[in-house]
């Protein structure tokens, strides 16, 4: 089956066309631009161009897989509403994937893994994995707090790694952002089975910054 994979939870605008069968996902074409301000502009053209390179059209798409964060607010929604609208118009399912799971899915091996991405405002999003399964997270925290909390880390992946001061022995593996194949792999067997997808709910992990107004400010001099 033909799967359209997309993610806008990191500074990358990620679009890919993946073929999926019993052997697993295989990349046919991808378009990736790293520009945190370009999600709105480039995502749909990237999807269209990747499909064209794969020799396919929108009508050939059987399923969509979409990273649902955690990601710094605005760009994340561009990807999610794109996935929702495409699924609606093409009448195909759209499967949500935690974007950190998609990064983890690209890292081979059973050893413990920590995935960290940039949450901006001097914080990181993270989740930890054992034998490919998420055992903690996703959470948002300051790097120092994360390091203090996590006793031992041996392998790390994701674009937030450089924001944390990991001990020199820690091995950096994997990619900075989810890949189309990682997204499809993380979405798992429901895609191939054509199971009903879970709702496309964004993982914001933060409440909106908004303050309720306090007492009225006076304009007259007392």
């Amino acid at each position: 089956m033909l799967v359209l994979a997309l993610d806008t939870a990191t500074p990358a605008v990620t679009a890919g066309v993946v073929t999926l069968d019993d052997e697993g996902p295989r990349l046919l074409a991808e378009r990736v631009t790293v520009d945190a301000k370009a999600h709105g502009e480039l995502l749909t053209p990237h999807l269209r161009d990747a499909l064209a390179e794969a020799g396919a059209g929108m009508g050939d798409v059987d399923a969509i897989v979409c990273g649902v964060g955690p990601g710094p607010f605005t760009g994340l929604r561009a990807g999610m509403v794109t996935a929702a609208a495409l699924a609606d118009a093409l009448e195909v399912p759209a499967y949500p994937v935690c974007s950190l799971d998609a990064i983890a899915a690209d890292v081979p091996g059973e050893a413990p893994l920590l995935v960290v991405t940039d949450a901006r405002r001097r914080e990181v999003y993270w989740a930890s994995y054992l034998a490919g399964n998420r055992v903690e997270g996703p959470r948002v925290q300051r790097p120092a707090e994360l390091l203090a909390e996590l006793g031992s880390v041996t392998r790390v992946a994701g674009g937030g790694v450089s924001l944390c001061e990991f001990p020199a022995a820690v091995e950096v593996v994997g990619t900075a952002q989810p890949s189309p194949v990682g997204l499809v792999r993380a979405a798992g067997s429901p895609v191939l089975e054509g199971a009903a997808p879970a709702p496309l709910t964004p993982l914001y992990l933060r409440r909106p910054d908004a303050v309720e107004p306090g007492a009225r400010k006076r304009v007259s001099q007392a």
């Binding site: 999600h39 709105g40 502009e41 480039l42 995502l43 749909t44 053209p45 999807l47 269209r48 929108m58 607010f73 605005t74 929604r77 561009a78 990807g79 999610m80 509403v81 794109t82 996935a83 929702a84 609208a85 495409l86 609606d88 118009a89 093409l90 964004p202 914001y204 909106p208 910054d209 908004a210 303050v211 309720e212 107004p213 009225r216 006076r218 304009v219 007259s220």
Partner: protein, 349 residues
């Protein structure tokens, strides 16, 4: 069935709007559906629109609102011939949701996409109620975010700003004065209601930008708001009760007076015979009554769409799309992006 179906998507502020219109070759634009999901209640406790809250609500509401509109019109997505979307002006994060959705729908359905100006949408709203606009006409747009006088020569291609607020928008002044009077948000409707019991001549509040040296067609509402605040505070200091109805009526009179006086003067000086008033504040009872009175005296035809079409909605955006289609305008590229500061003369991008 003849004619083309245009889908309109609006998400510039706190309303997720999806509208459908049908346009035929004669230029008639028929309203088929106008569905709106508002997040206004989520913003009420903050006393104004919180961008992140609005953006989150747009993402949740987009597809359900689309389905409601299609159901109302008894159409399927496959029946849509073109898509129009607000690409500015407005809140960046909010616009992004509508623009991204519109691009995905256009790509999936393989139909042309038009990124359009929200303000042109407010003008086009009137065509859904009263038919084609005479050329030229004058439009007074008054909402929570905008207060502008526009000369509209051609809805699809030529709109010129001839005046605008130099500080607060008219709706914003209503919202701020409502807070001073302990009335709920949004402030327009409760002030309008309170004013009915009050005396509009009780307090002489200033008419901003009406001095001989002031720009003839620009507005200012920030001084008015401050004058109301001073007056209310003086009352409170003296221990007297604040006469809410009189303050509301006198404030409302000042707003309606300035807006209508400037609009009528502009129409007369520019020799334009029709005034359209649109935007959320057009729902104000005193504004429409005074505009009707003054337009009648000046021999100007007044057009005000029903309140439902005055506030933000997707049908007005579909109507702009319909006019672009009729005019044979080039569609936007799929690289279209939101422009929070899109100038009013850029009707489509």
């Amino acid at each position: 069935m003849t004619g083309k179906v245009v889908l309109g998507i609006e998400s510039s502020c706190d309303e997720t709007g999806v509208g459908l219109v049908r346009v035929d070759n004669s230029g008639a634009v028929e309203l088929l559906a106008d569905e709106v999901a508002s997040s206004v209640e989520l913003h009420a406790r903050y006393g104004g629109v919180v961008p992140e809250v609005a953006s989150r609500a747009h993402l949740e509401a987009m597809v359900p609102t689309m389905h409601r509109a299609l159901r109302t019109a008894d159409l399927r997505l496959a029946d849509v011939d073109a898509i129009a979307v607000t690409c500015g002006p407005g809140l960046a994060g909010a616009l992004l949701v509508g623009v991204s959705a519109a691009k995905a729908y256009a790509a999936a359905l393989d139909v042309p996409l038009y990124g359009v100006n929200h303000l042109a949408g407010h003008v086009a709203a009137d065509t859904l109620e009263h038919g084609p606009l005479p050329k030229p006409c004058l439009a007074l747009l008054v909402s929570g975010g905008h207060s502008q006088l526009l000369r509209v020569d051609e809805l699809a291609s030529k709109i010129t700003e001839i005046g605008s607020t130099i500080d607060d928008a008219a709706g914003e002044a209503y919202d701020k004065v409502a807070r001073l009077l302990d009335l709920p948000y949004p402030g327009g409707p409760p002030i309008d209601k309170a004013a009915r019991e009050g005396d509009p001549r009780a307090i002489a509040f200033p008419r901003g930008m009406t001095g001989p040296r002031d720009a003839k067609f620009d507005f200012s509402f920030s001084g008015l708001k401050t004058a109301v605040a001073r007056w209310v505070e003086a009352r409170e200091r003296s221990g007297e009760a604040v006469p809410v109805a009189d303050v509301a009526a006198s404030f409302q009179e000042a707003v309606a007076d300035v807006l209508t006086a400037k609009a009528v003067r502009a129409a007369e000086e520019l020799g334009i015979g029709t005034l359209v008033i649109s935007g959320g504040v057009a729902a104000n009872s005193r504004l429409s009554a005074l505009a009707a009175e003054r337009c009648a005296a000046a021999g100007i035809q007044l057009r005000v769409p029903r309140p439902r079409l005055c506030t933000d909605n997707g049908a007005m955006i579909a109507a702009v799309g319909a006019h672009l289609l009729l005019a044979g305008s080039a569609p936007s590229s799929l690289e279209l992006s939101a422009n929070p500061a899109l100038p009013v003369h850029t009707i489509s991008v």
